[in-house]
């Protein structure tokens, strides 16, 4: 996602505050794809993600008058999105069995399958992280939010975000190494 020029973004927000639907569509086009990706990674369901993103944009449109001019839009937007995702997660925790399966991306046919398997292993490992590590990891590595932006939208100190990213990344590395070791052991059996 190319960063939206801040002057253009402000202009779009001004226009949306005046009820300009076309400006809202432009803003949507810019943010929707990564919002859907982030929401999918957080809720572990593309269907819930679609709902969360839909509700997020509806809230944005209905509350855009409350958005303070001069403040960056991105953290405000992602704060709403994360709240919506958490709402769906809360429903899912109440209503869906623990062994609920993640959406499965169709398997790719590719001669070199090692990277794809690594992606899948890693995605699964991310899903098993506690939310305090998982959400900053998703925001940083999927959406390229800065640590400052993540801190702003999660109401955290920047150093806390850095620490969680570091810890989360270490947990993922450990998990991958453990998997690799297990695979090596099982391959070595007679």
């Amino acid at each position: 996602m190319e960063p939206l020029n801040s002057a253009i973004e402000k202009q779009l927000i001004d226009q949306i505050q005046q009820g300009d639907k076309e400006a809202f569509k432009k803003l949507y086009d810019h943010y929707a794809e990564y919002a859907l990706r982030v929401a999918t990674a957080i809720t572990k369901s593309s269907a819930f993600a679609a709902d969360a993103v839909q509700e997020t944009f509806i809230r944005v449109y209905r509350n855009i008058h409350a958005f303070e001019r001069g403040k960056p839009f991105k953290p405000w937007f992602y704060r709403i999105l994360i709240n919506e995702c958490n709402r769906f997660l809360e429903q899912k925790r109440k209503l869906i069995p623990v062994d609920f399966q993640w959406d499965q991306e169709p398997k790719l046919v590719q001669s070199d399958r090692v990277p794809i398997e690594q992606y899948e292993d890693l995605y699964e490992a991310i899903g098993k992280l506690q939310d305090l590590y998982r959400i900053p990891i998703i925001l940083k590595y999927l959406n390229e939010l800065t640590e400052k932006e993540i801190a702003d939208l999660m109401d955290l100190n920047v150093n806390t975000v850095k620490s969680r990213l570091l810890k989360g990344r270490q947990l993922l590395k450990d998990e991958l190494q453990e998997r690799t070791a297990k695979e090596g052991t099982s391959c070595g059996r007679p």
Partner: protein
Amino acid sequence: MEDHKIDELLSESLRHSTDSAARLQAQVWDNIENALFKDDRETYSEGEGRIMSRTATHRRKRRGPGSYIAAAAAAIILVAACLTISTETGQAYVSKIRQMFEPEKKVVEHIEGSEEETDLQLHENESNAALESDYVIYVDEERYTATKSNGVQRIEAKIDGDYPDVYMEISQVKDRKPEEIAQELHAQLAAEYDDVTDVTEVTDPVKGYNFRALAGKEWDSEKIVYYIVSNELEGSFVIKQAYFLEASEGHGARMYEMLRQFQIVPPGEDAK
């Protein structure tokens, strides 16, 4: 593993694993547009993974109980939703499907304690999606209109006056199993309605999973019924019926009977 390697792997893994959701962008916009800019109706449509529609419930004028029994015989249309029909091959396939089913037939419907014999008439519809199963269904053309938009077949009651919407929607999810979809939709309904039945396996009117939600006990309380059926490949059909409490024995029964005529035609079946 080196830090830059894990960083790169994290980004690639997250992107790769969320590609399917990114493709929902246009569909989500349609829903947002409906919610914000068209009446007060919120429509959610199905594509890669989704799913249900919801309409604001309003207090409506009461309608006489007998008005749901129509006297005239119905012409029934067959809706054949096919996936490759815009092509020449697709047209040929439609013709084969048409040959597989009777152009006309009669069914007996049990409506509010009475039996009605209804004439059935063959009709077809087109779809451009690919790699999914086709299906056919008989629709009471006199009482319902059948339309298709964004892969969703909508069979809607022709009702005069200010009544809640009555319709049945059929959509296909090509890569998710019925069990998974049933759990997910059930969770969504349970979050929205107090009265939701458990997911149960049924064999009538279709073989699949069924559950329903009821918004209250008023005559016009919204009732939503879901059937989730395997598409006999790797995916599912999601069938949603929406009507209101008083219409259960009228439109509810008619839609039940129409759904009994639902028949899946997996790709290649026509060649047998």
